[in-house]
Structures are given as structure tokens and as C-alpha cells.
């Protein structure tokens, strides 16, 4: 997955940027109300309109959710290639994935069409540019539900207007460590942005990974939404960098101790639950960014965070594992990856 490459602008803090657009086809019931027959028709229609453009011909692959078992479905969610919402409609849902895994088009999620573009690092513009183009390609072969006054029409009025959700995933361990995070998030939520964990919720986010996104979709242009989000993200980046510097300056031995202890556990433990692994991997990630750990790559840790999620572990061993067995396998995967 390219979005985990650990590249791009501000890569020491920003893991990835994402743009998601919600679109619907005019005068056809939204997925929630759709019968199976119509759902099939929508899948074909969207699928065909994506690959109708020759630029997309060989690079997109279509999957029907019905053909994928539930573990593999959850693997895709853990990799952020599809949303949990799509799994709720697993009887009628499908999706297209581009070869580089940066672009996904989900069909019959909450809306008929939800396209998302993910890039590593802070790069919302590149995401928007691709999403905008893909949007035009799909529109060329469909009739979008669009209203002159309130914009793109979506199943839920919270998405009308641009239908756009822009989000940035940040690694903010020092703001958590210095207990500044709650105050910052309260401020952020007051200006129409929301904060979620990578897998957890709110400030309990596991692995100190946070997703910040816009809540308002009506009355602000795509550019406005991105600029507002970028502005706040930039401030969070600065705050996190300052906190890291302070920690390094005043508590160097303490932070080194914390990071090396975590590394020791990861390299030696035989049983590891997902919560603990997220916490320890976050320490290693911080160690890499602070230049304390030099022989492990950013990409390795980013990928390990995904590889150690429950369905990913399950899928690798291709049989039903109980939670205990899974924790043992997780420890194995980590040891193998960090055995340098």
C-alpha cells in the first residue's frame, strides 16, 4: 500500500492524506432502500463508467463483496482500502481498486458512489486532483443527483454540498505524552473539524494515530475545506515538533529509555495483544522520527501497524485463530519483521 510508504511532505508526523467524495445517481433509491436487482444495476453502471475511460481500463479491478470472505473484508477495512460502512451493505456492495491502491471506488455504501484517494504524507491537493478527475469520468456516463442550491445530494444531509470528506492522519505521541492533546482536540472540534483514532475513538486513539477531518460539507468550497484543514494540521505539526524538541532537550535519557524498552519487548515478547503492540510500535515510530533509532525504516513500522491488526493476523495464517493464538502469532510477525 502506497499510502503507508512513509513518504511525502511532513512525513515525520503525517502518515497520510485522504479525500473522499460521495455521489449518487439521480432518481434512484439510495442503497439503504435499494432492492438487490437495482443494486446490481448500479454496480454495473458505476463499474462501466469508471473503466469506460481508457486511462482506467487496465488499472482498476472490480470486486463484488459477496465474493470475498468476512476475514478478507475486514483486512481491507484495516488497510483503509474500503470503509466499515461498506461491510454493513455486504449483500449489495462492491468496489473498484486501482493497482497502486491509492484509489478506491466503493459502490452501494451509504451512497451509490464513494470514491477515495489516499496519498502518503500531507498532500491533500494531489488527492483532490485525482478525485476530481475520476469524478468527471464517472459523471460522463451517469446522471448525478445534484441540486443547484444545495449541491451534491447524499443519503445523509450531513454530506450534502461538496459531498467531500478530507482527512489527514497524524502521529502525535509527544502531544499525548505531554497531555496537551485533549485541549487541542476540544479547540479543533469547535471549528467544525472532527478527530478520530486510526482504529479507536477520540483521544483514546490507539498508537497515538489520529485522523482529523472536516465535518461541514455545505457552504464551503473544496479548496476552502482543504485549506482550513491544512491550516489546523500545520499547527498540530508545529505543536508536536515543539513537544518532541522539549522532550529531547529536557528528558533525553528518559525518552531513550522508553523507546529502547519498547523495542526490547517487541523484539522478544512471545504474546502480544493488539493494544500493546500499537502502543509499543508508536514508541518505535517516535524513536525513528527523533533519530534515536536509525536501523529501522518508517515504512517498516507503518506496515507493521497494519499487519498486526486482528483480521490481518488472522488472514496470514489462513485459519480460525482464537484471541490467544492470535496474540502469539502477532508476536511472531513482529519479531520476524524487527529481526535486524
Amino acid at each position: 500500500m502506497k499510502w503507508l510508504d512513509g513518504e511525502g511532505s511532513d512525513k515525520d508526523i503525517v502518515v497520510s492524506s485522504r479525500i473522499r467524495l460521495a455521489r449518487n445517481i439521480r432518481d434512484i433509491k439510495f442503497p439503504q432502500e435499494l432492492n438487490n436487482e437495482m443494486a446490481e444495476e448500479i454496480k454495473n453502471k458505476v463499474n462501466n463508467s469508471v473503466i469506460a475511460d481508457e486511462r482506467n481500463n487496465d488499472v482498476f479491478k472490480y470486486y463484488d463483496l459477496k465474493d470475498i470472505n468476512s476475514t478478507e473484508q475486514r483486512v481491507l477495512v484495516e488497510k483503509h482500502l474500503i470503509s466499515p460502512g461498506l461491510l454493513q451493505n455486504s449483500q449489495i456492495g462492491g468496489f473498484l481498486i486501482r493497482k497502486d491502491e491509492k484509489v478506491t471506488v466503493m459502490i452501494n455504501e451509504e451512497d451509490h458512489i464513494r470514491m477515495q484517494v489516499i496519498y502518503p504524507g500531507l498532500n491533500l491537493e494531489a488527492c483532490w486532483e485525482e478525485a476530481d478527475k475520476l469524478d468527471d469520468i464517472i459523471e460522463a456516463n451517469t446522471e448525478y443527483a445534484f441540486d443547484e442550491k444545495i449541491g451534491y445530494l447524499t443519503a445523509c444531509p450531513t454530506n450534502i454540498g461538496t459531498g467531500m470528506r478530507a482527512s489527514v492522519m497524524l502521529h502525535l505521541p509527544s502531544l499525548v505524552l505531554t497531555k496537551q492533546i485533549n485541549g487541542i482536540f476540544q479547540a479543533v472540534s469547535q471549528i467544525g473539524l472532527t478527530v478520530r483514532g486510526l482504529y479507536g475513538e477520540g483521544s483514546n486513539a490507539k498508537g497515538n494515530l489520529f485522523q482529523i477531518s472536516n465535518q461541514i460539507t455545505l457552504g464551503e468550497s473544496e479548496k476552502d475545506i482543504m485549506n482550513k484543514l491544512k491550516n489546523i494540521v500545520q499547527q498540530l505539526i508545529n505543536n508536536e515538533r515543539q513537544a518532541r524538541e522539549k522532550i529531547y532537550k529536557f528528558n533525553k535519557i528518559k525518552i531513550e529509555d522508553k523507546i529502547y524498552r519498547s523495542l526490547g519487548i517487541l523484539k522478544n515478547a512471545r504474546i502480544m495483544n493488539s493494544e500493546e503492540s500499537m502502543e509499543l510500535l508508536s514508541d518505535i515510530k517516535l524513536g525513528i522520527e527523533m533519530n534515536i533509532i536509525r536501523n529501522i525504516g518508517r515504512k517498516t513500522i507503518n506496515k507493521l501497524i497494519i499487519k498486526t491488526q486482528p483480521a490481518n493476523v488472522q488472514s496470514k495464517y489462513n485459519k480460525d485463530l482464537n484471541p490467544n493464538e492470535r496474540d502469539i502469532k502477532r508476536a511472531e510477525i513482529i519479531r520476524k519483521e524487527l529481526d535486524i
Binding site: R26, I150, I216
Partner: protein, 165 residues
């Protein structure tokens, strides 16, 4: 406490409104509460509860109206309030009046300013052109400029044909 709507009279009707999972307290004067549509936003229970709470015998009109249904998907506004999701794009015009106040509450705005799709946007532009020509046509007829009116009529016909195609 003053009425939230007019800000002129004492609020005497109080109730909790839950829309889209979002709970909010509403405080209105008798007059404004009476103007609120019954059977949709404002259930009879709310009204009565509000009245009983305040021991007021207001002379409000309670008209029971058959719930409005979307002609494409059959959605009612009450069902939307339960699920937070509309049934199809036509629902937006069906429940336009009631949804309008919701937009402001959710987004702080009620007019789209972002991207306009190429195709749907094009017909939007043509529709606007037609409206403009129709005004000119009316004026031309009023001024008895019949030659000009004929030209305008042709132009409108042409554009209308464009949209249908």
C-alpha cells in the same frame, strides 16, 4: 426566557427536539409554536407536554395532516427523523421546507459553493438562460415588439430542445 424564533414574546412552550440523533431544547412563544407545523417536526405529544408543563391553555390550532410521502421512494419525514437517512434524491425536493432549517443547523450554511458537475451543471446553465429569455419575451410582448418576441420564442424552443436531448 424569550422566544427563540421571534425574540419578542415570553417563551412558554418548551420541548426537546431530536433530529438526526441530535438533541436540542426548543423554547418558543405561543404564537410561534402555533405556527410550527404539527405532525412533523412538532409532534402533538410535544405540544401537549409543553402546554401541560406550563399550565397554559393556549388557543392553538392542531391540524392533523396526512404524512407527506416521497413519490419516488415512499419515504416519510418521520422515518427520516428515525434513521437520519433519506430514501432518494427526490426526497430533498419533497421535504425541502423542513430540511432547509436542518442544513443551517448541521453546516452553518444552506447554499452550495463548491464544484458543479459538468453535465448536470450544463443543463443548469441552460435553464438559467431560458429563464432570462422568458423574461425578455414577456417584456417584448408587453411592448408589442412582436418581431423580437418571435426571435426570442425560437431561441427558447431551441434551448428547451437541447435540454431534452
Amino acid at each position: 426566557m424569550m422566544c427563540e424564533k421571534c425574540g419578542e414574546s415570553q417563551a412558554t412552550v418548551h420541548y426537546t427536539e431530536i433530529i438526526n440523533g441530535h438533541k436540542s431544547e426548543v423554547h418558543l412563544c405561543e404564537k410561534c409554536a402555533g405556527e410550527k407545523e404539527v405532525g412533523s417536526h412538532f409532534s402533538i405529544n410535544h405540544l401537549l407536554a409543553g402546554l401541560l408543563d406550563n399550565q397554559i391553555d393556549g388557543n392553538m390550532k392542531i391540524d392533523y395532516v396526512e404524512p407527506q410521502k416521497c413519490k419516488v421512494c415512499g419515504m416519510t419525514y418521520n422515518r427520516f427523523k428515525e434513521t437520519g437517512k433519506l430514501g432518494c434524491s427526490e426526497c430533498y425536493s419533497t421535504f425541502n421546507d423542513r430540511l432547509n432549517s436542518l442544513y443551517k443547523r448541521i453546516h452553518g450554511h444552506d447554499v452550495h459553493v463548491g464544484k458543479i458537475p459538468i453535465k448536470s451543471g450544463k443543463s443548469m446553465k441552460v435553464k438559467k438562460d431560458i429563464e432570462k429569455l422568458q423574461l425578455e419575451l414577456k417584456e417584448a410582448i408587453e411592448n408589442e415588439e412582436f418581431e423580437n418576441a418571435a426571435i426570442l420564442r425560437d431561441k427558447i424552443k431551441k434551448l428547451e430542445k437541447n435540454i431534452k436531448e
